[in-house]
């Protein structure tokens, strides 16, 4: 395989995945709007495109399978088969199958796939109409042979003068729409118009045109769209068409050779198939290559458009963007160093002005380079369509899913890690959240449950809200479960809101029955940990009988955070601002010491354990007791707590640098960053640093509450 071919294949694999996502969306849309010819047209186009391209780059398995799928879609399009839920399921299965094949090919380009089972399903769905099936099969060579070179033409679009191409498109469009208006009639002039268009391209040799014209008489072009009227065609014609294309001069000889080979193989194969289904080949009603030539050329309409988008966006490897971000990060640090030193070092007006100008520029560069990693959440949100569909089908519930804010952008890495937790929450919303249809009707709600997913920006965060209008989470059930698990004491006073948070506790499931959908041991705790790994958080709000809202708050990017620079003795540390709830100078009344337990802070009636950062990290702090220091309140998920530091220096945006393996395993360090003085500093993860002590502290708290009460 030469490089060019390999590149072509790789491009195809990447693009087809996108295409498959589109088809999946279309299938799902079709399910909701079964009558829409528009969606069917679109699906047909996508499938057709996929088939043609896969054949062109030489992935026979994919092409063969997509061909079968296309047959099915064609039947739907012509109305021979009705669009039903099970039909959509089958189409989705097909889609999954192709996706699997593409993934397989990504790993190994020579991989072979077995599609027999699913093809059997398709044939089954086609109604076991053997004659129809065979006709479909026989029709195959037409499309295969003729359309592929046309795809080739599309690929070679550069060779054509673009103006001509556009003209041609216009004319073709016209020709085709004319045809569409008058589908039933079979006026040869129409295809003649198309031919005319081809001729106008100027690249066609007259003899070719004559040959093609000869083909017109065979039939009326739109017949090709009507499956029942498409009958077998003569192999000679396709040979002639190939010949014609060759004479067009734009086709690569090797491609042509391959096509010729394919076409003969194809014919052999197809006839075998046909014989399996029908003892004799059905009578020949002549069709022509012309309509086939037109179809792809019309499809070419999209090609110039595509060209434009290619110019507007390029695919860049993530590693390059990361590298750029690293360098820009350095630039920003250096700029800060310069900025901090500028007044001390120089009274030179020009110099100072330049430095501040540089500051603005580097900030801008930083913003641009960060934005390179930002992608819309659309693709991930759309995946939820499928999740909701499959889940609701399994559970036999009716669900309307509403997506909002799909264009909201977020860092690609964050997005990648977001998909799994999101799937889980959405699945839970359908499974646990929504009631069964009967229950809904009894409760006077709409028959179909409503699940909404919206994404929006809130400050420096991205928020994704998953709402359902189900029954809500019953706090008393959670409470009982928590007592049963020994997480809380029976008579413990905890607000319902706090109780709800226990659903995030490891191994916590209120579902008595393990269903196909949930209860498989992957609980909300995993969702929570995954989201916390992204420095995000999940909040739940629920109202009995009205529904629940899961709010996932994520930082827009992982690479830069807002940090608070604190001083502990001679050391500077950075605390992510997101962890800081408030800071205060403790007064004598606030701090109480319990022998054996340590110090506690009474914050407006709430008793918080009070830790000293210096003590925990074995770093010497300034002299003096707790009253001389500053307490920072950390609103941890389980229990809030307070830490003592010597001073808060300032707040700034910090670029997170990863720690080497040799210290990565140290607990409590999120990473490091380089401060304005050029020296590196550790970013503390106080939640993690004190998570070990929190178990103890929770009992401290309870006991203290007991004492206070």
């Amino acid at each position: 395989m030469d490089d060019f071919e390999k590149e072509l294949k790789e491009d195809f694999l990447d693009e087809s995945l996108q295409l498959l996502e589109d088809t999946e969306q279309s299938f799902l849309a079709l399910e909701n709007d079964k009558e829409s010819t528009e969606i069917l047209d679109q699906i047909f186009r996508l499938a057709h495109n996929l088939k043609g391209t896969s054949r062109a780059v030489g992935f026979g398995n994919v092409a063969e399978f997509t061909h079968e799928m296309e047959n099915l879609i064609l039947k739907l399009k012509t109305g021979d088969l009705a669009v039903t839920d099970s039909m959509v399921s089958l189409l989705l299965e097909c889609n999954d199958h192709i996706t699997n094949m593409i993934h397989g090919l990504k790993d190994d380009m020579d991989a072979e796939f077995d599609s027999t089972e699913i093809v059997a399903n398709i044939l089954n769905a086609l109604g076991g109409n053997a004659v129809a099936a065979s006709v479909e099969a026989v029709e195959d060579p037409v499309i295969e042979e003729v359309e592929v070179p046309s795809e080739e033409l599309v690929a070679n679009a550069d060779n054509w003068e673009s103006d001509d191409t556009e003209d041609l498109d216009g004319i073709l469009d016209e020709a085709i729409s004319e045809k569409a208006e008058d589908e039933s009639s079979s006026e040869p002039e129409i295809s003649a118009a198309a031919l005319e268009a081809l001729r106008e391209l100027g690249n066609c040799d007259e003899s070719v045109m004559a040959e093609l014209e000869g083909g017109i008489s065979f039939s009326e072009p739109m017949e090709a769209f009507k499956a029942e009227e498409v009958e077998q065609e003569e192999p000679e014609i396709s040979a002639a068409a190939l010949e014609a294309l060759r004479e067009l001069g734009n086709c690569d000889e090797t491609v042509m050779a391959e096509l010729e080979k394919n076409s003969s193989e194809k014919n052999g194969l197809k006839f075998n198939n046909a014989i399996d289904d029908t003892p004799s080949i059905t009578p020949i009603e002549k069709t022509t290559t012309t309509p086939e030539t037109i179809t792809p050329l019309a499809a070419k309409k999209s090609a110039p458009v595509k060209k434009v988008t290619e110019d507007e966006s390029i695919r860049v490897s993530l590693s390059r963007v990361e590298k750029l971000n690293n360098v820009v990060g350095e630039l920003v640090i250096l700029q800060t160093v310069l900025d901090q030193g500028r007044f001390a070092a120089s009274q030179d007006q020009l110099m100072n002005k330049s430095i501040s100008q540089l500051g603005k520029l580097s900030k801008e560069i930083q913003e641009i380079s960060m934005s390179l990693r930002m992608v819309p959440v659309k693709s991930t949100l759309q995946k939820m369509n499928r999740i909701v569909r499959d889940t609701s089908k399994t559970l036999n519930k009716k669900v309307n899913l509403k997506l909002n804010g799909e264009e909201t952008e977020i860092d690609k890495t964050v997005l990648e890690h977001l998909a799994d937790p999101l799937v889980h929450i959405v699945r839970n919303a359908v499974d646990h959240g929504l009631e069964s249809t009967e229950e809904r009707i009894a409760a006077g709600k709409s028959e179909a449950g409503n699940v909404g997913i919206s994404a929006y920006h809130e400050g420096n965060n991205l928020v994704i809200e998953i709402t359902d209008d189900g029954k809500g989470i019953p706090a008393n059930v959670i409470r009982n479960k928590a007592i049963e698990k020994g997480l809380i004491r029976e008579n413990q006073q905890i607000s319902d809101e706090d109780i709800i948070q226990y659903i995030f506790h490891p191994g916590f499931s209120t579902k008595e029955q393990v269903t196909e959908v949930s209860g498989r041991g992957v609980g909300m705790d995993v969702v929570k940990t995954n989201i916390e790994k992204l420095s995000g958080e999940v909040k739940v709000k629920t109202e009995l009988g009205k529904g629940s809202v899961f709010k996932v708050v994520l930082p827009l990017t992982m690479a830069i955070i807002d940090g608070m620079v604190i001083r502990v003795g001679d050391n500077k540390f950075i605390i992510p601002l997101s962890q800081v709830h408030e800071s205060l100078k403790p007064t004598k009344e606030m701090v109480s010491k319990v022998t054996g337990w340590g110090e506690c802070l009474n914050l407006r009636g709430q008793i918080l354990p009070l830790f000293s950062v210096g003590g925990t990290l074995s770093v010497a702090m300034d002299e003096g007791n707790s009253l001389d220091k500053i307490a920072i309140i950390i609103q941890a998920a389980e229990h809030p707590f307070a830490v003592l530091v010597d001073d808060i220096l300032h707040q700034q945006q910090v670029v997170i640098k990863n720690l080497g393996n040799e210290i990565k395993s140290s607990k409590g360090f999120m990473g490091s960053s380089i401060l304005g003085d050029g020296k590196p500093s550790f970013i503390l993860d106080l939640n993690e640093l004190y998570s070990g002590k929190m178990k103890k502290s929770s009992s401290i708290k309870e006991d203290l509450i007991g004492k206070v009460a």
């Binding site: 690293n326 640090i333 990290l617 040799e662 140290s666 490091s672 050029g678 020296k679 590196p680």
Partner: protein
């Protein structure tokens, strides 16, 4: 240590026995050590470092190497060698251990040695020898002995887990 094993552990320096291998020789106290030149990224003067809380004493801290944060280790503390006094030649060697960068403080950088693997003498196994596993072998020329050091081993997983345990 047989030759095969030696080759394995020295895979970083190359395949062929007869090929000249280059090592960077440096001093730790009064002793001479060397590491494969291919694992050396650069040599810098001792930078300002930020101490790592709760890390073992040989972890000097983290430094800023043109925007990259890397750890600096004092090899002398680790190997329990007494550092030279009033030393102006103290340097940091930035080594690349399988993509992981690390700074190593040494007393002085001496020279680049070139010899074939055949010239490496095995270390006689002495039961009380603590450091044996850090050492590929010894290169001897005339009267001087140079110990070929396996940096990855010196700071191996044991340290990482020790650190993790300590911080926990």
């Amino acid at each position: 240590m047989n030759e095969e094993k030696l080759n394995q552990s020295l895979s970083i320096v190359g395949e062929e026995n007869s090929e000249l291998q280059r090592f960077l020789e440096f001093s730790l106290g009064e002793e001479e050590y060397a590491i494969p030149l291919l694992s050396v990224r650069e040599v810098i003067s001792v930078p300002e470092t930020t101490p790592i809380p709760k890390a073992p004493s040989h972890f000097l801290g983290i430094m800023n190497l043109r925007g990259q944060v890397i750890s600096v280790v004092d090899m002398r503390t680790k190997l329990k060698i007494k550092a030279k006094e009033n030393n102006s030649e103290e340097s940091v060697i930035i080594v690349d251990l399988d993509g992981m960068n690390l700074g190593i403080v040494v007393d002085s950088i001496n020279k680049v040695l070139a010899f074939t693997l055949k010239d490496i003498n095995e270390v006689p196994e002495i039961e009380t020898q603590v450091n044996a596993e850090y050492i590929y072998g010894v290169y001897r020329k005339e009267d001087s002995l140079t110990v070929l050091l396996n940096v990855a081993k010196v700071l191996d997983i044991k340290d990482v887990s020790a650190l993790a345990k300590k911080a926990a």
